[in-house]
């Protein structure tokens, strides 16, 4: 590949990585607080729809962002209610949220706009446009989020408590901190970050919503979270790597690589999942989830 081609692929890698990073950091906040979340995909999808719908109705991208964040936050709190207050199965709840979002966005979209589930095309101020080095505000916010996540998770009292809620909630409760509140904060931050990723997809990257437009990005983010061993800085690099793989897959469609021959696009697309399985199995390194994640915390009386 020539130099400018490499620059193009790198650029599109960053753009494809941004929503992954949002969802991955979202999962990180939730799972480090002890709540497993496989509903990242559904929350992103709901935010993508709510964001594009609000942006097209109001003509303002900011309103779209707010609507997207609210939709995703609501689903995040629903997950929190099921997992924290009802001690429900967190996998089941995440699955339910994915299904509800997949169905509801397509159903409501079709009934509301009458375009087969799409929202009208967004133009001008209804969309986030590049402001700095070809990056729009959401990309910049996303990169900021990664550093802020690291800062708050490791350097603040709240971060320490959140990590404790995910590793040893009983000890945290003994120290006089409410595990319930910390975990609710975790799922709320998770909801907001998923919302950011979803709005990015429909209001920044694309000019509107398409049914099922997340197309598994929430699950790649989940894979990235495991691959990054639930740590923020590795999450940044993993998401960039997975975004880059996606960009390469798009670029290589029908191209033959000298020396390698024809590389099937599907092989590159499957690579994040395969790499995660290998890492999770401990063949290369070891990915160990937060110790108390997935286990409902029942306060002793």
């Amino acid at each position: 590949m020539e130099l400018d081609a490499i620059v193009i692929v790198l650029g599109s890698g960053v753009r494809l990585a941004a929503p992954l990073l949002c969802a991955c950091l979202a999962g990180l906040w939730s799972e480090r607080s002890g709540i497993v979340d496989i509903g990242l995909e559904g929350k992103m999808l709901a935010a993508a729809f709510a964001g594009a719908a609000a942006a097209s109705v109001t003509g303002s991208a900011i309103m779209g962002l707010l609507a997207g964040l609210s939709a995703s936050l609501a689903l995040g709190l629903l997950h929190g209610y099921a997992a924290i207050d009802r001690h429900g199965n967190q996998i089941v709840s995440g699955m339910a949220i994915n299904m509800i979002a997949a169905g509801l966005t397509a159903l409501v979209g079709a009934a509301w706009f009458g375009q087969g589930g799409r929202t009208p095309s967004l133009e001008g101020d209804a969309r986030f446009n590049p402001v700095l080095f070809g990056m729009d505000p959401l990309t910049i916010i996303t990169i900021l989020c990664a550093s802020l996540t690291w800062l708050f998770l490791y350097k603040s009292r709240f971060g320490l408590r959140l990590r404790a809620a995910g590793e040893n909630p009983a000890a945290l409760e003994t120290a006089g901190v409410s595990v319930r509140r910390i975990r609710y904060a975790g799922v709320a931050i998770c909801g907001l970050l998923c919302g950011l990723g979803g709005v990015y997809l429909s209001v920044s990257q694309a000019a509107g919503f398409l049914p099922q437009m997340t197309a598994g990005k929430g699950f790649i983010a989940l894979a990235a979270l495991v691959f990054a061993k639930w740590k923020p800085i590795p999450a940044l690099f993993t998401c960039f790597l997975f975004g880059l793989l996606d960009a390469v897959a798009i670029r290589m469609q029908g191209l033959s690589v000298p020396g390698l021959g024809f590389v099937p696009v599907q092989a590159i697309q499957a690579l994040p999942y395969v790499m995660t399985v290998i890492l999770l199995a401990g063949f290369v390194g070891r990915a160990i989830p937060p110790r108390a994640s997935g286990i409902p915390y029942v306060k002793e009386n």
Partner: protein, 372 residues
């Protein structure tokens, strides 16, 4: 905050009923919100699925898929394993069936069909046993691994169907048609042999296989040594270990059987209806299995009943989308999600109110505290 203690009969009837009613109540609100009449929608749904012989056949055809995938999820659930991979396992099972049908075209149906079914089962089993083995031996979480395996299956099958298995000269990512001997006998065809005319439908012998599979799962779980080991593992993994149960063996075998059951979806769709392998033939039916297993409380009888309900939803939903175009088929996915939410994640929510109501029979004039 512990869930209230209920009599067994209430636990098996009232609790699931309250959960399903809640799911349908919220679905009704959704229908209302998009500006349609929920009662009218319900009427179309029921008459579309049960109002005619054709409707009933389609309902049973959809139910076949859900019995297989529901049993798959339920069996693994009994062993404490959450198999989210039925979708991918069924997809791979389709590959197994297709390879047999395409490579042995000359065989008579009586040999070819059983071979194809076995191949489907084996392929589904292998795709489930790898995550099982990884969980048992390497400690990787089965939920994450089966999710990953779904996506790997999607890529693998897309690659095979686009590149190596596509019918020559065709632009569609699908194989050529299998020999006619590879088609599962359909009910309309069988009944017409006896002079009984029924409307044409995709309902085929796979439905009977699904019922046999349900009986098999019941026998396995409650009447065999392996079933005892599965239930012990599901109830308390470390106790199972202390009791000398080879947990690795039980996990891998259970996942194998679970994947095999998921393969039934491929038998119904690929061998029963499509007669060729095509892209995304599983169309989310594997995930419906999760809803069905939760609603049926991981019991074969419950799974069959829940499958019939979901069969009605799918068939009735198709009629509904035709009758009232504003309510697209996505409505079914919403209902499905709500069922998973209420019957699964919020399963205990109505226990306390139900216990309170049952307690009322001894006391007087307290108001009904149930909200849904």
């Amino acid at each position: 905050m512990r869930a209230a203690k209920l009599p067994v009969w209430a636990d098996l009837t009232l609790v699931p009923l309250a959960n399903v009613v809640a799911a349908f109540f919220v679905s009704g609100l959704v229908v209302l919100a998009i500006g349609e009449n929920p009662f009218n929608a319900m009427r179309v749904l029921i008459s579309g699925s049960l109002g005619s012989l054709e409707g009933i056949s389609f309902t049973l055809y959809y139910a076949t898929n859900f019995i297989f995938t529901g049993l798959s999820v339920a069996l693994a659930y009994r062993a404490g394993l959450f198999n989210i991979g039925a979708e991918g396992q069924a997809y791979l099972a389709g590959l197994g069936a297709a390879l047999v049908c395409l490579s042995l075209p000359g065989l008579p149906a009586i040999i070819l069909l059983p071979l194809a079914i076995v191949a489907a089962g084996v392929f589904g089993a292998i795709w489930a046993m790898i995550p099982g083995w990884l969980q048992a031996k390497r400690g990787s979480h089965i939920v994450i691994t089966t999710i990953m395996f779904n996506w790997i299956a999607t890529s693998l099958m897309a690659w095979l169907l686009v590149n190596s298995m596509r019918a020559p000269g065709s632009m569609q990512p699908e194989t050529k048609s299998f020999p006619p001997a590879a088609l599962m006998p359909k009910f309309d065809g069988i009944l017409s042999l006896f002079g009984i005319a029924v409307p044409s439908s995709p309902l085929n012998v796979s439905f009977l296989l699904a019922l046999i599979a349900a009986a098999f799962v019941w026998l396995l779980v409650w009447r065999t040594r392996l079933g005892y080991e599965i239930r012990t593992l599901g109830a308390n993994a470390s106790a199972a270990d202390y009791a000398g149960i080879g947990t690795t063996r039980v996990i891998v075998i259970t996942m194998g059987l679970s994947g095999m059951l998921a393969g039934g979806l491929a038998v119904n769709e690929v061998l029963g209806v499509q007669n060729r392998l095509l892209l995304e033939f599983t169309s989310g039916y594997g995930f419906v299995g999760i809803a069905v297993a939760l609603m049926g409380r991981a019991h074969p009888v419950g799974v069959v009943l829940a499958s019939l309900l979901f069969g009605m939803l799918y068939q009735g939903g198709a009629e509904l989308a035709f009758d009232q175009p504003r309510i697209t088929r996505d409505m079914i996915v919403v209902i499905q999600g709500l069922v998973v939410l209420f019957a699964g994640a919020l399963e205990g929510m109505f226990r306390t109110p139900i216990a309170a109501v049952l307690g009322l029979f001894r006391r007087t004039d307290e108001p009904d505290s149930r909200s849904a």
